[in-house]
């Protein structure tokens, strides 16, 4: 008899312990939260064609038309690009509601109202674990004394992490090998327990507080935000998944994006703290690359505006720095020789990404050599494909560049976006909101505008490249060197290509000449992809 008892004990204890690990019950996990942003009220910005506005405080009014179509031209008379893309003024102090919105809601909304609404909705990420794996929150019935509660906690072999006195909740750690589900099941059987729930995880919902973030459908478009003034109805999430990606990284302030453009407004409140002071103006050959157009300021803002600063827009790469290099004059003209000087300057200044929102016909060997030199020096060069609705223009057409086409708020390739086998990826380029120089709309005006063009698609990609470099390379020291498994330029370009959303899969499965590998997806490029047993290779 004694022997049997010991056999029983010896076998039973380990098996009992082991069986505790087996899940007795599975609680249904939370359903997805209600549809996000259902109450979001989107006010379309007042579309106002710059061409029609004769009262702007803009130098050289007669040159406005040329300024708006920033394609690369030579002063020697290269062919003009097709009609310009509209630049739309943002007037926050006098936002007009669309007719539909007016019917829906008579009262006008303040800016703050719109931003508040944008914060409602789903948790940031619904994948991954949804509660802390070894913790529960328990509320005992008030009739139970403190001693009895402590005894109950001890009886379940849980460890009290803390008691939250204001709502009388016990935060407990479950015993090892007892799952949360099992613990909750056991606690729910106890009549002294009012309720027991998992310790749910709430992800940081990275919604920047920039007032115009709600208008940046390119970054986050949960509820069919459409470009200002557009009659289009957007589809679900036709955006580059910036919010999800920002949870992983907001960029490294050591990563530099060189904006080779018309310069940047150093006084703009959404850019002033992001600009490096060692830029250069190759148009006037001085060290003051101030924007006397608007294009460079808008491009720089899209790539890396100051974000979460209660001001204007959110940039793709929150923390990365901008190196302004002025290669285009106040009419938007740029020649290859000046462009080459700008590229050379970016290389010498230690830039990691070069954005070239310029385009024009005609292969140029010197231009290619300069870009190849940048590529060989570990710089990712991103270029706009052009807006002529024709073949991809240069410099985007060079192999060493990431050629970026434009999509719209419905993830459709825009009619004016250039195409061809050189296209690598696409990014939103229609109705893109960004900063313009503070003088642009006149004294005291709101220095923001929206614009169309692959010029504004490219900086989305440049920002993503900067984020990838920041998270993949800088931790190991020097970046973009082909050793020790550190990424090389081509790797960064391939990450951007291979993580894109093939949004025209229905008509053109796989890579195609219109949007390349697809519209970029920042989440997939940056956030760890969750692998499960379902991914097991067969």
């Amino acid at each position: 008899m004694k022997r049997e008892k010991f056999i029983f004990t010896t076998l039973l204890i380990p098996f009992f312990l082991f069986s505790l690990n087996l899940r007795l019950t599975r609680l249904d996990r939370d359903d997805k939260a209600a549809s996000p942003y259902s109450s979001q009220q989107t006010k379309y910005l007042l579309g106002e064609n710059l061409l029609a506005n004769s009262n702007q405080n803009v130098p050289e009014k007669d040159s406005v038309k040329r300024r708006l179509q920033l394609t690369r031209k030579t002063r020697e008379g290269a062919a003009e690009s097709p009609p310009p893309k509209m630049l739309t003024k943002i007037r926050p102090e006098n936002l007009a509601l669309s007719t539909r919105d007016k019917k829906r809601k008579k009262d006008s909304f303040s800016y703050q109202n719109r931003i508040h609404n944008i914060n409602e909705g789903n948790p940031f990420r619904s994948n991954g674990i949804q509660y802390v794996p070894d913790q529960v929150l328990v509320k005992f019935k008030p009739s139970l004394s403190a001693e009895q509660r402590e005894a109950t906690v001890a009886a379940y072999q849980t460890r009290k992490i803390r008691r939250i006195p204001s709502i009388d909740i016990y935060h407990l750690q479950t015993p090892e090998n007892v799952s949360v589900e099992e613990m909750l099941y056991l606690l729910e059987q106890n009549p002294d327990v009012e309720y027991a729930v998992p310790n749910h995880i709430r992800h940081l919902a990275i919604t920047p507080n920039d007032p115009l973030f709600g208008q940046q459908y390119a970054l986050y478009n949960p509820n069919q935000i459409v470009p200002p003034g557009s009659p289009q109805q957007g589809i679900e999430r036709p955006d580059i998944r910036a919010r999800e990606a920002w949870e992983e990284t907001m960029g490294d302030d050591e990563v530099i994006i060189a904006i080779l453009d018309t310069g940047v407004d150093f006084g703009h409140p959404d850019l002033d703290d992001k600009l490096l002071m060692n830029g250069y103006d190759f148009v006037n050959d001085d060290s003051d690359p101030t924007d006397d157009h608007y294009h460079g300021t808008l491009v720089a803002g899209i790539a890396a505006a100051e974000t979460n600063n209660d001001e204007g827009i959110a940039g793709v790469a929150w923390n990365c720095k901008i190196l302004p290099i002025k290669i285009a004059d106040n009419t938007g003209w740029v020649d290859v020789a000046t462009e080459i000087l700008g590229i050379e300057r970016a290389v010498q200044s230690g830039a990691h990404v070069i954005n070239l929102s310029i385009a024009g016909p005609g292969y140029s060997q010197p231009e290619r050599d300069a870009i190849r030199d940048a590529y060989n020096n570990g710089i990712v060069v991103v270029a706009a494909a052009g807006n002529s609705g024709a073949g991809t223009e240069y410099p985007a057409a060079y192999d060493e560049c990431l050629a970026v086409a434009a999509t719209d708020s419905e993830d459709l390739n825009t009619a004016w976006s250039n195409y061809g086998p050189e296209i690598d990826v696409a990014a939103p380029g229609e109705g893109i909101v960004g900063p313009v120089p503070t003088w642009f709309w006149g004294p005291g005006s709101f220095p923001y505008a929206s614009g169309d063009g692959t010029s504004f698609s490219a900086p989305h990609v440049a920002g993503l490249a900067a984020l990838i470099i920041g998270i993949k390379g800088l931790e190991e020291g020097d970046i973009l060197l082909d050793d020790d498994d550190i990424l090389i330029v081509e790797d960064v370009m391939n990450i951007i290509r291979y993580t894109a959303d093939d949004v025209n899969y229905g008509n053109y499965p796989g890579r195609d000449d219109f949007i390349g590998f697809g519209r970029i997806n920042m989440e997939r490029a940056l956030v760890p992809i969750i692998i499960s047993a379902l991914n097991k290779k067969r």
Partner: protein
């Protein structure tokens, strides 16, 4: 804390080496085996591991199915050899240095592998009711290659992972020998676990590799066990293990059936 570990490790190593040297002195009688005890066992351990220079932690759940042989030599010296299979769940391990970062999710499942081990035990004190032994064990796990596909990309992508690990335990075993048929024991041991998980990623022409160094959060283990002799030759051993670390306690169990030839 690390210094303490080093001291314990050095002390234990010296003691083991002294066992060997004393054993060497008795070389003439050493290899005359007193008993040979083959056995089969099962072990489960949920252990907290850390990685990326202690920045992150996750739980490594492992099962071990072992075939081992313990040889008792003269002079109170035991040697043990272990062969076995192991399955381990490396969930929540994140590889961020690959071109595309990947996270072995909650549902990653187990990765199989093989286990090799060896141990040596030397009796130090053997009084009427108490025996104190010094036990040192070494285990090496070789994970088998596992492949996954990366879905939802516009191009084909795959991952290939292969883990391996090493575990060393050294410490005294206090066995109460006052009972006739069962012998409770306490094994206090320095318990060091470390390993690597190599992950290769291939996405079209984009290739990368990352080797993640992992190590056990705890370096100390308390094992409470019981050896029960059913017959003179047949015995069962069960053990519960507790590995305290700064934020909690890991635990595991072991059960082993042995048959002794004399």
């Amino acid at each position: 804390m690390k210094k303490t570990h080093a001291y314990v490790f050095c002390l234990s190593s010296i003691l083991i080496l002294s066992c060997f040297s004393s054993a060497a002195a008795q070389e003439r009688t050493l290899f005359n085996a007193v008993s040979i005890s083959p056995g089969i066992g099962f072990e489960y351990l949920s252990r907290t591991i850390n990685w990326d220079d202690d920045q992150y932690t996750s739980k490594l759940k492992s099962n071990y199915f072992t075939f081992d042989t313990e040889i008792e030599l003269q002079g109170g010296l035991f040697v043990r050899a272990v062969l076995g299979f192991t399955t381990a769940n490396y969930r929540s391990l994140v590889f961020r240095q690959l071109p595309l970062s990947v996270d072995l999710g909650e549902e990653i499942g187990y990765i199989g592998g093989y286990l090799l081990g060896a141990g040596i035990k030397k009796s130090i004190i053997h009084s009427e009711d108490l025996r104190i032994d010094l036990l040192g064990q070494f285990f090496y796990g070789i994970g088998s290659k596992k492949e996954w596909e990366i879905s939802e990309l516009p191009v084909e992508g795959s991952l290939e992972g292969r883990p391996n690990w090493t575990k060393v335990t050294v410490g005294p075993v206090f066995t109460y020998t006052g009972f006739e048929t069962f012998f409770p024991y306490l094994y206090l041991n320095f318990n060091k676990f470390w390993g690597r998980f190599k992950m290769d990623e291939t996405i079209q022409d984009l290739e990368g590799s990352e080797t993640k160094k992992i190590k056990g959060e705890s370096s100390f283990c308390v094992s409470l066990g019981l050896t029960y002799k059913i017959t003179e030759s047949f015995s069962i051993k069960s053990e519960a293990r507790f590995l305290p670390y700064k934020d909690g306690i890991d635990s595991g169990i072991m059960i082993k059936v042995m048959y002794s030839f004399y």
